[in-house]
Amino acid sequence: MTTLFSLFYSFFQIGLFSIGGGYAAMPLIKAQAVDIHHWITATEFADLVTIAEMTPGPIAINAATFVGMRVAGVLGAVLATLGNILPSCIIMLILARLYEKYSKQTLLKQILGGVRPVVVAAIFSAGLVLLQLALTSVSQPDLFALVVFAVAFVLLNSKRIPLGPIALLVLGAGVGILHSVLA
């Protein structure tokens, strides 16, 4: 019972203070799960980071599920994840309400409109990091990754070939496996 509660509470704190995306949450998760509670070892934590990068979803939720599952099974995973998303869900619900109420007002419209280029820059910056990662993680220079990137980019912009992003991701996985078999 106390373990379940401290799982919930630890990940509640992580959720509340992980400010600025997944990688900001990593040191908090390490502090709680490795240093304070000794739920997982430092090596397991390093493995967790690798796994989180290989599996879909936010890193904090991956970590919550992984640690919760190891410590207290399915119930532990559910409680840790719930604790993790509860703070941001409460904050976001308040913000969502305010947005729906006031988004037509000129002041808020002006502010949100003004910040839009920043969001585009943030998406671009994330894209650059992903591109860097895609082109350097296996070999340098990685001609295969560059070709896949270019073809995918062209296909996404093409109006004639209506391939959605998910279909392209599946194709990308297939091409990756084919490449490793042939190489």
Binding site: T55, P56, P58, C89, R97, Q110
Partner: protein, 202 residues
Amino acid sequence: MKKGLVREKKEKPQRTVRFHLQLFWTTFSLSLFTFGGGFVIISLMRKKMVVKLGWIDDEQMLDFVTIAQSSPGPIAVNGSLMVGYHLAGLSGALVAVLGTVLPPMIILGFVSLGYEAVAGNPWIGAAFHGMRAVVAAIVMQVTWALFRPLLEKREVLPLALFGVSLVLLFVLKVNIMVVMVAMILFFVVQSLVGLKRGGKDQ
């Protein structure tokens, strides 16, 4: 041919059980393919909810990202909650969050039972080699779609803000929430000063 930001939008969908199921399935399937961080799901969301389903428009989506990014927690969860709430209120928010959280939970639940097999698996590694390049292309394409209207307007301030933000985020690696909140404060002050001036002129 549509140019610029996607603005024409259908009416808000009716809040039926059927719609909630569709919302759940949409967020679930997007979340299932969100490798490489929150901005990937934002890019997928734009493709699906703005371009394909027409549930929201580009400006609303960027507003949602701004708000999602200015509060703690994963941007994927925050963004889904905003969209869900906008489309169908509290129940929509719950359904969207559940759809976003379940795929990583289910996958990690299984992985935690035998993660040694996954972490070093060459087949999974090879698949990721291809997928990483596609993910980068998806985010870059969405960047381009959102950046083009900015370029076409030819206004100095938005382009300057874009440049400054890019340097702060990509080169100097400043925490994104710090940048976002600072920029919001900048515009709050600017608008308030503008209001005051407008008041005096009358």
